[in-house]
């Protein structure tokens, strides 16, 4: 930043007077005295801070405004004094009760990218944008210390330190000599109760994921919040901070190396979702023209990872997840999520990771991560201890950082145990709650999860259920709206087609040019998510309702009582239909949208929810991990054990006897073994003596 020639010392001395004049006489476009009114409001609300638009000051006095950037400490101090003077004339009693008034400047004309913050900005006022990733609990910092000085000759006396007009900096230093008696001998004792303290909090601001150059680590900077600013933002929030760049030693040792940090004077949480994707008027025209294309759905799906051959259903599911349904808040405060979660379980080498990486690239606010996570916070959030300062921090994980966007999670089956617990809440309630080491917080995680995982046994075993095949509890599986299984089965015709596609791509990469350029698709998605809120039409409601009732009726008619669909899938159907309408920027969900949702849901149920024993669709495979048919067998085995237990003198049922009786009812021995294993694990039965089981009562 350039220093301003011609800004003489007199300008600094003048700042207080000029600022007072600014508060008194600045008028907005409508001729209103903007800051006079704000000050009155401030007094009524009992606030200590006045928020000043930088541009207003710039128009009023360009030199003063530029001086504020160059020498913020001096100008802000004088501005604060001018504000006090102004308030004293308006409401003297109110001014008396407040120690310090703050002038908080917002909306500087230029944002400095975190990556370009260098020594040239030290001591200057800057504006930064980023994600708040960590926050310490609120602490109290001394601004004016009260010391007691005791000597044998003079006795004890108290005094304030540092002297009038100065405040305590980063480190509280003992006075070199007593300002009352002038002696440096004797004892100096700090009296914290009599000292003046203000609220203090340290946060870490990180570059937004979409700003990080490919292949580089995100940069971050510490920010100190004081007084009214503390606790005004939570980890995961996207914030704009105006503050003064300062330095402090990077370690406790006396090295000549310093770290930069920001002393914040204003903090603003960004309210609008996806505002970082800039859509110009020309973009809007192109987006609207695209939406008019009758083949828009096909074009969008074809533009998702065009280098990957086939997998149309999965690509369509991903496309719908990117657009998402409409989140709703009922008058009683219940939140119904609009995000569509998709899981892909597949054999190695089926392009799962490639699909996910592409998703992160085209999703506005997209984050690609693995189940293990790169940071200590993992997928949700964690309380961690800073090694150098020993302070506890709350750090946001991937799902919180991608709030309002999409988290592409690879190898979800390998996530940390802590995340396994917290992800339930993150996926359904869309918040992450944490209470550890004195930090209690609930962070927003309104994130669409598109995840991929490997089968537990290396390859997907078709003779086992989905829950058996993946190392994820059924409680997490049931939160996915759509689950797809990618099996790598040899098929000469299909193999030839795939091989030809891949070889052609190697020969000429131009062949996989997407129908819609990724950059435009990103803007299209962002536009749809921001402005399009489709509502269900009566015809669409009818179609979804009919499908739901019809599927449920199948459960009544079938002998083994397999349940093909539940209310969770009904909600998923609504989300899918809404997303389908959003894809064409339609404000109404039509029958066509509902049909597309039903078709995709059927594809999912046939792929993941098929009971391998009965050959019927059974949602219990996902919801409980066991098909209904197997559940009923388990219940019957339990009854047999109960029966045998009451009949026998030992008070337990012998394994051989259970197997014999079960076989007479058509239940095979391996099912009996599995049932006993599961029931023992779940604490339903116990082994009373070797090979003899009893029910826990």
């Amino acid at each position: 930043m350039q220093s301003i020639p011609g800004l003489a010392e007199e300008a600094v001395i003048d700042a207080r007077e000029r600022f007072h004049e600014f508060l008194r006489s600045f008028r907005d476009r409508n001729g209103n005295y903007k800051y006079r009114e704000r000050i009155r409001q401030m007094i009524t609300m009992g606030q200590k801070s006045l928020i000043v638009e930088y541009n207003d000051l710039y128009i009023f006095d360009t030199k003063l405004a530029r001086l504020l950037i160059e020498r913020p400490d001096e100008v802000l101090r004088q501005a604060s004094e001018a504000l006090r003077e102004f308030i004293e004339s308006e409401a003297p009693e109110y001014a008396e009760g407040i120690d310090r008034f703050y002038v908080r400047v917002r909306a500087l004309p230029k944002t400095i990218p975190l990556r370009r913050l260098r020594s040239e900005y030290i001591g200057k006022l800057v504006m930064l944008e980023g994600i708040l990733v960590r926050a310490t609990p609120i602490k109290e910092k001394i601004t004016k210390a009260v010391f007691m000085h005791c000597t044998r000759e003079q006795g004890c006396h108290e005094f304030e330190w540092p002297p009038e007009g100065e405040l305590v900096g980063e480190i509280l230093e003992k006075p070199p000599a007593c300002p009352v008696c002038g002696s440096s001998s004797g004892t100096f004792r700090l009296i914290p109760e009599k000292s003046k303290l203000i609220d203090w909090q340290r946060i870490v601001l990180q570059e937004r994921p979409e700003e990080i150059p490919p292949g580089q680590l995100p940069r971050s900077i510490e920010v100190v919040l004081q007084d009214e600013l503390v606790d005004s933002a939570r980890p995961g929030d996207r914030v704009t901070i105006v503050g003064v760049v300062r330095v402090r030693p990077d370690t406790a040792k006396k090295r000549a190396v310093y770290d930069l940090y920001i002393d914040a004077i204003h903090l603003e949480v960004s309210q609008k979702l996806l505002e970082e994707v800039i859509i110009t008027r020309e973009d809007e025209e192109r987006i609207k023209a695209l939406a008019r294309d009758p083949w828009i759905h096909k074009k969008i799906v074809a533009s998702i990872a065009p280098a990957i051959y086939g997998h149309w259903d999965i690509k369509e599911a991903i496309a719908l997840a990117l657009f998402g349904g409409v989140p709703k808040i009922t008058p009683d405060g219940t939140r119904i999520r609009g995000d569509i979660h998709v899981l892909i379980v597949g054999d190695p080498g089926t392009a799962k990771s490639q699909l996910l990486q592409y998703v992160a690239r085209i999703a506005p606010r997209g984050i690609y991560t693995t189940g293990k996570g790169a940071t200590a916070a993992g997928l949700t959030a964690a309380v961690i201890r800073d090694k150098s300062t020993g302070e506890y921090y709350l750090e946001a994980g991937a799902l919180v950082l991608a709030d309002g966007g999409v988290a592409a999670i690879d190898e979800i089956d390998k996530m940390r145990d802590e995340d396994r617990v917290a992800i339930h809440e993150a996926m359904e309630q869309q918040t992450v709650s944490i209470a550890k080491a004195g930090i209690v917080a609930r962070l927003n995680a309104r994130t669409t999860v598109i995840a991929a995982g490997n089968p537990k046994f290396g390859r997907y075993l078709t003779n086992r259920t989905l829950a058996d095949n993946i190392n994820l509890p059924v409680t997490i599986l049931s939160r996915f709206d759509l689950i797809f299984i990618l099996k790598d089965k040899p098929n000469p015709e299909e193999d030839r087609r795939v091989a030809r596609h891949i070889l052609e791509v190697h020969k000429d990469t131009e062949r996989v040019k997407p129908e819609i350029e990724p950059e435009l698709l990103k803007k299209y998605i962002s536009y749809a998510r921001r402005y399009v809120r489709p509502r269900l039409s009566q015809e669409a409601i009818q179609l979804i309702e009919d499908f739901y009732v019809q599927m449920r009726r199948m459960s009544l008619e079938s002998s083994d009582g397999a349940i093909p669909i539940t209310l969770r899938q009904l909600e998923a159907l609504v989300r899918l239909a809404e997303a389908h309408a959003r894809m064409a920027l339609r404000d109404e969900v039509t029958v066509e949208d509902a049909e597309a949702a039903v078709r995709l849901m059927k594809a999912f149920l046939e792929s993941a929810g098929l009971d391998i024993e009965s050959g019927k669709i059974d949602i219990d495979i996902i919801m409980t991990g066991k098909p209904r048919s197997k559940q009923e067998k388990f219940t019957r085995i339990m009854e047999i054990i109960e029966q045998l237990e009451s009949e026998s003198e030992e008070g337990c049922a012998r394994l051989k006897e259970i197997q014999r009786r079960a076989l007479s009812e058509g239940i095979e021995s391996n099912i009996v073994d599995e049932a006993i294993r599961t029931m023992r694990r779940d604490g339903i039965i116990y082994e009373k003596s070797i090979g003899c089981y009893a029910i826990v009562r």
């Binding site: 350039q2 541009n55 360009t62």
Partner: protein
């Protein structure tokens, strides 16, 4: 926005339909011409004092040609029109606030022009700087830079002795 139905316009081989109530995107020069004929009105909000102040801030902060930022499309033309209109309004309404606003705008515009001219002249010293900043110039600035660059080239050729083999 088209405010009156009219015959289609043919410009540079392209047809522009003038149908009442429809928003169309056309070059600034054409829009001002059609405004004069009472066929359209410009719906994009004109430059305000705040907009010019914001631009002034970033222009004044630039030190070298590499710091130069792109100005909004048609910036000079729009600023000139807005300042002229403000002057006329101030005369008509006898409002000192409008006069003050016009004065501020003009001051910012002069300083913006001065600063950008300095950078433009700096860049003339090296052909690489010219190439670097061309994409960030307005059409007026680009024309001026080309003109000056050609004049300098001719002047050099005339001053310097011809290369001998």
């Amino acid at each position: 926005m088209v405010i009156k139905d009219s015959k289609n316009l043919y410009i540079d081989g392209q047809s522009i339909e003038l149908q009442k109530g429809v928003e169309i995107e056309i070059p600034y020069w054409l829009a001002t011409q059609l405004v004069k004929e009472g066929l359209v009105k410009i719906v994009e909000s004109p430059l305000s004092l705040e907009d010019i102040a914001r631009i002034h801030f970033s222009v004044i902060s630039a030190k070298t040609p590499s710091d130069l930022e792109q100005l909004p499309q048609y910036f000079y033309q729009e600023a000139k029109t807005v300042i002229q209109e403000l002057g006329e309004r101030a005369k008509k309404e006898l409002d000192p606030a409008l006069l003050e606003e016009r004065h501020r705008m003009l001051q910012y515009l002069v300083e913006i022009i001065d600063k950008r001219l300095t950078i433009l002249l700096q860049s003339l010293r090296s052909p690489t700087s010219i190439a670097e900043i061309t994409s960030r110039l307005t059409p007026e600035e680009e024309a001026l830079l080309n003109h000056l660059s050609n004049a300098l080239k001719t002047w050099r050729e005339k001053i310097l002795p011809r290369a001998t083999v």
